[in-house]
C-alpha cells in the first residue's frame, strides 16, 4: 500500500504489552465467533442464493432472494439453511431456474422440505455447483482487478479516498469521474439514509436516495464501469468502495465481490451501535460477509472512527484501540490477510483541547505501530467541523498532515462543508487540492518527526494502549455482548436480545448446510 519504509518504533511500545493486547482481543472475541458459527441469518441465506445466481426482484421491487428465503423459512424453517430445501425443490420440481422457483414460491405454491440421506447429498452437491459458479465469478473479478492494477499501477503515496453522496447514481458518476480526474484513488458511494435498515437490497439503477445513493448491484456495476473508463483514461486504477454494514451485510458483500468493488466498509459492531441492529445478527452476518471479502480480495474498512462522533475522542481513544484489536481478530478468523485490514480511526479531538494536534499524532501513531502491515483508514474531522468553511479547510489540512506524519494508508479526504451539506463537486476538488499540497509539500516530513522519548506524544500513546488493555481485560471477563450492552463503544448501549433484525437469526441445526461457507472455508 504505502511504499514508504516505516521507521519502526517511534513510540517505543513494549512488544510484550502489544502481544498481550492481541491475546486478550482473541480471547474476548472467540465466544462471539462460536456464536457466528452456530447460527445463520436470513441475510446469510439470501447471500448464498445470490451467489448461486438468484438476482432481480418482483414487480414490487422485493428481491427474489427475499421471496425465496421467506417462503422456505415459512414452511421448513432455516435451521438447515436455505440450500437443502431449495435445491431439493429444484431437483424434484419443474422449475426453469432459481428465479422461476422463487417466483412460484412467492405465491406459496412450492412445497419445500428438508431432504435427508442421499437426497440431501444430491441437493447439497447441486447447490454447491451453483454457488461455486458465483464464487468462481468472484475469483474471476479478483483476477481482473489484479491484472488492471498490474497494468495501471497503484498510487504511490497513501490512497486518497473521496465520497460521493448525491442520491442519484448518474450525478454520482459524473462527480466520481471528476474526482478521479482530480486525483482521487478511491471513490466511496455513500448510501441513502435508511438503507442499512432495509432487510433487502434494492434492485436496479436508482436516483432517489437521501444523502446517499442506494447500494444495488446495478449501481455497483454502473459505477465500476464508469471508473474503469476513467482509470483507462488516467492510466491509474481507481478503486470503488461501498458499505457492507446493515441488515444485508452478507448480500452486499456478495454483490461487491461479483461487481469487482475494491474495498468495503465492514465493521464487526457498527450496525449494532449505530443502527441498533441486533448484535447476534450482526456478528453472524459479519463473519460470512468477511469470508466473502477475503475471497474477493476486498480491503475492509472498519468503523472505529464513528465512536468518536458520539464519545469524546480523548476519553474514548482506548475504545478505538480495543475495537481495532477485536476487528483484527474477527477479520483474521474470517480469512482476511493483514493487507486487507483497513482498520478505522479518526481525527476527532476537539480542536479547543490544548495540544490537540499532538494528541492526534499520538493516537494515529499508536494505530500505525500496533498494526504495521494493515492499510489503516484515517478519517477526517467531522464532529468539530462547523459552518466556518475556511477554518474547516484548515483543519482538514492538519488532518492530512497528521496522516502523512504517521504514514496512514487510506486517507479519507475531509470536506470543508462537513457541517453543512453532503459534499459539493467543488468541495471535493478543493479537498483534493488540499491533500495534494500537504503530501507534496510535507509528505516526507515523517523523516523529521521523532516524538521525544518521554514527551507528550509517547506518554499519551502509552497511556491509551494501557487503557485499551485494561478494557479488553474487562471485556474478556464480562463477555463482549455484555460490554456492548454497557455502552462501552461510542457510548451506545445495545443488549444482546434487542435491536432490529433479531428475528432474522436462526440457530443452525446439526444438519445445517451452506456450500458457500464450506467453499470459502476450504478453498
Amino acid at each position: 500500500m504505502t511504499t514508504a519504509v516505516r521507521t519502526p518504533g517511534k513510540l517505543g511500545l513494549d512488544p510484550a504489552l502489544v502481544r498481550r493486547a492481541r491475546e486478550l482481543a482473541a480471547r474476548a472475541g472467540r465466544p462471539v465467533v462460536d456464536l457466528a458459527r452456530s447460527h445463520t441469518t436470513v441475510a446469510v441465506e439470501r447471500a448464498t442464493l445470490r451467489l448461486a445466481g438468484l438476482n432481480g426482484a418482483d414487480p414490487e421491487g422485493i428481491p427474489w432472494a427475499n421471496r425465496l428465503v421467506d417462503a422456505v423459512r415459512d414452511q421448513v424453517g432455516l435451521e438447515h439453511g436455505v440450500c437443502l430445501p431449495v435445491w431439493e425443490a429444484l431437483r424434484s420440481g419443474e422449475y426453469r431456474d432459481l428465479t422461476d422457483l422463487a417466483a412460484r414460491a412467492a405465491t406459496r405454491t412450492v412445497p419445500f422440505r428438508v431432504p435427508e440421506g442421499d437426497a440431501a447429498v444430491r441437493s447439497e452437491a447441486a447447490a454447491r455447483t451453483a454457488v461455486g459458479r458465483g464464487i468462481a465469478r468472484i475469483d474471476e473479478r479478483r483476477r481482473e482487478r489484479e491484472e488492471l492494477v498490474r497494468r495501471w499501477g497503484n498510487p504511490k503515496g497513501p490512497w486518497i479516498y473521496l465520497i460521493v453522496a448525491t442520491g442519484d447514481i448518474h450525478e454520482d458518476i459524473r462527480q466520481a469521474q471528476a474526482a478521479a480526474q482530480g486525483g482521487a484513488d478511491v471513490i466511496a458511494v455513500i448510501r441513502s439514509t435508511g438503507q442499512s435498515l432495509l432487510d433487502y437490497v434494492p434492485d436496479g439503477a436508482t436516483r432517489e436516495g437521501y444523502a446517499g445513493t442506494y447500494a444495488t448491484q446495478e449501481n455497483f456495476r454502473l459505477m465500476r464501469a464508469a471508473l474503469d473508463e476513467t482509470s483507462a483514461e488516467l492510466g491509474r486504477y481507481v478503486r470503488l468502495t461501498n458499505y457492507a454494514s446493515g441488515l444485508c451485510m452478507p448480500e452486499i458483500a456478495a454483490l461487491a465481490g461479483l461487481e469487482r468493488l475494491d474495498m468495503m466498509l465492514n465493521d464487526s459492531m457498527y450496525g449494532i451501535l449505530f443502527r441498533d441492529i441486533n448484535p447476534v445478527r450482526t456478528f453472524v452476518d459479519q463473519r460470512f460477509s468477511r469470508q466473502l471479502h477475503a475471497r474477493a480480495g476486498i480491503v475492509i474498512n472498519t468503523g472505529e472512527d464513528n465512536y468518536l462522533t458520539t464519545a469524546d475522542a480523548v476519553d474514548a481513544a482506548h475504545t478505538v484501540t480495543a475495537s481495532q484489536l477485536l476487528n483484527e481478530y474477527f477479520a483474521k478468523e474470517a480469512g482476511l490477510a493483514d493487507g486487507q485490514l483497513g482498520l478505522g480511526h479518526a481525527f476527532e479531538i476537539d480542536p479547543a483541547v490544548p495540544d490537540s494536534f499532538r494528541l492526534e499524532l499520538a493516537h494515529a501513531l499508536l494505530a500505525r505501530e500496533l498494526f504495521p502491515d494493515a492499510p489503516l483508514k484515517w478519517m477526517p474531522p467531522t464532529r468539530h467541523m462547523t459552518g466556518d468553511v475556511f477554518h474547516g479547510y484548515l483543519l482538514n489540512g492538519f488532518f492530512n498532515l497528521a496522516g502523512a506524519l504517521t504514514e496512514q494508508s487510506i486517507l479519507l479526504v475531509g470536506m470543508m462543508t462537513e457541517a453543512v451539506v453532503t459534499p459539493f463537486l467543488s468541495d471535493r476538488d478543493l479537498a483534493l487540492r488540499n491533500i495534494r499540497y500537504v503530501l507534496d509539500a510535507a509528505g516526507g516530513l515523517a523523516e523529521d518527526f521523532h516524538p521525544a522519548p518521554d514527551g507528550l506524544i509517547a506518554r499519551r500513546a502509552g497511556q491509551v494502549l494501557g487503557e485499551a488493555i485494561d478494557l479488553l481485560e474487562d471485556i474478556r471477563e464480562r463477555g463482549l455482548l455484555d460490554a456492548i450492552a454497557a455502552g462501552t463503544f461510542g457510548g451506545m448501549r445495545r443488549t444482546a436480545e434487542g435491536g432490529r433484525g433479531a428475528d432474522g437469526v436462526v440457530a443452525r441445526a446439526a444438519g445445517y448446510r451452506n456450500p458457500a461457507i464450506d467453499l470459502l472455508e476450504t478453498t
Binding site: G167, R174, Q177, A178, Q181, G182, S192, T193, G194, L197, Y210, A211, F274, R275, D276, T309, T310, A419, V421, T422, F424, L425, S426, D429, L430
Partner: protein
C-alpha cells in the same frame, strides 16, 4: 507618569440606530462580499463570463473574478469578490426573540408542579430515516449540552426518548399512548429538504390524529432550521444550532403552563 490616553477620535458613528446597513469589507458601506460557486460550463472565457454574469445578477457591482478553475471536463469553479448594491433594512427583520424567561431547572420544576400539578410528558425522536441522535440526546439526556443538564434531569418532566429512525405513524401512536404534552423532534439530514418534508408530514398527522386542544406541542430542532419558520412547517416552535436544554425547558414551561397563569 502615564497619562490616560487622550483619545479624541472623530469616528464615523456606527449605523446602530440607522435602519439600513451594507456589508463591510474594510470601509463603511463598501458592500464587499465573497462568493464561490461551480457552473456546469467547461473552463474558459465563456465560463468566466458566465461567472461574472451570475455575480451581477446577485447584485455584485463590478465583480472581481479572482479565481477560476476547471473541475473535470465539464465544470468550472469560481471565487468572486465585489460590492453588492443591496442594503439590509434592519427594521424589516423579524427576530424570533425569546418571549419567555430563561428558567433554571429548579424554577422550571416548581412552575410545572405548581401550575400543572403533574409531570409534564415529553416524547423525543429522530423521525424518518434520520439517525442523528446526538442533537436530541444533547437536549434530553442527563448528560446534556454546553454544560447544562438535559431534560431528563428535570424531575417534573417525564422524558421518553425513542431514538433514531422513528416513523411518523409510530411517533403519533406513541404520543397518544404516553399522553405526551410535547413531541420533540430532531432532523439533521437536510438533503433534498428531507427535514422540511418530514416535519410537515408529522405536523399534518398530529393534527389529523388529535383535536386541537389535546394535540401535543410540536417542537422541532436541528442545525439547519431557521427559527423563523415554525408557522410554515406547522410546528409550534423551531430551534436551531446551539440550542441548550434550558432554552427548551423554559419554552415548554411557558407554552404548556403559561396559560394557567393568565387563564
Amino acid at each position: 507618569m502615564i497619562t490616560a490616553p487622550d483619545l479624541d477620535l472623530d469616528l464615523p458613528t456606527l449605523p446602530r440606530t440607522a435602519t439600513t446597513v451594507r456589508p463591510y469589507g474594510d470601509t463603511t458601506d463598501d458592500g464587499m462580499v465573497q462568493v464561490s460557486f461551480t457552473l456546469p460550463v467547461p473552463h474558459g472565457p465563456l465560463a468566466d463570463g458566465a461567472a461574472l454574469q451570475l455575480a451581477r445578477k446577485m447584485g455584485i457591482d463590478r465583480p472581481l473574478l479572482v479565481h477560476s478553475k476547471p473541475i473535470g471536463r465539464d465544470f468550472s469553479f469560481f471565487v468572486v469578490y465585489g460590492p453588492v448594491v443591496h442594503e439590509v433594512d434592519l427594521d424589516e427583520i423579524e427576530v424570533v426573540e425569546r418571549e419567555y424567561p430563561l428558567l433554571t431547572a429548579k424554577e422550571a420544576n416548581s412552575a410545572v408542579s405548581e401550575r400543572l400539578g403533574r409531570k409534564l410528558v415529553v416524547l423525543g425522536a429522530c423521525i424518518g430515516t434520520d439517525a442523528h441522535t446526538v442533537g436530541i440526546d444533547a437536549i434530553l439526556n442527563i448528560k446534556g449540552f454546553a454544560g447544562e443538564k438535559g431534560l431528563e434531569y428535570y424531575k417534573e418532566l417525564k422524558v421518553l426518548n425513542l431514538g433514531a429512525q422513528v416513523s411518523v405513524p409510530e411517533l403519533v401512536r406513541r404520543a397518544r399512548v404516553e399522553g405526551a404534552d410535547a413531541v420533540l423532534v430532531s432532523q439533521v439530514v437536510t438533503q433534498r429538504d428531507a427535514h422540511l418534508t418530514n416535519v410537515k408530514e408529522l405536523a399534518a398527522e398530529l393534527r389529523a390524529e388529535f383535536a386541537e386542544h389535546e394535540r401535543p406541542l410540536l417542537v422541532v430542532g436541528g442545525p439547519r432550521f431557521d427559527p423563523g419558520t415554525a408557522a410554515e412547517l406547522g410546528a409550534d416552535r423551531v430551534f436551531g444550532r446551539g440550542t441548550t436544554p434550558s432554552d427548551v425547558a423554559s419554552y415548554l414551561v411557558h407554552a404548556l403552563t403559561g396559560a394557567e397563569l393568565t387563564g
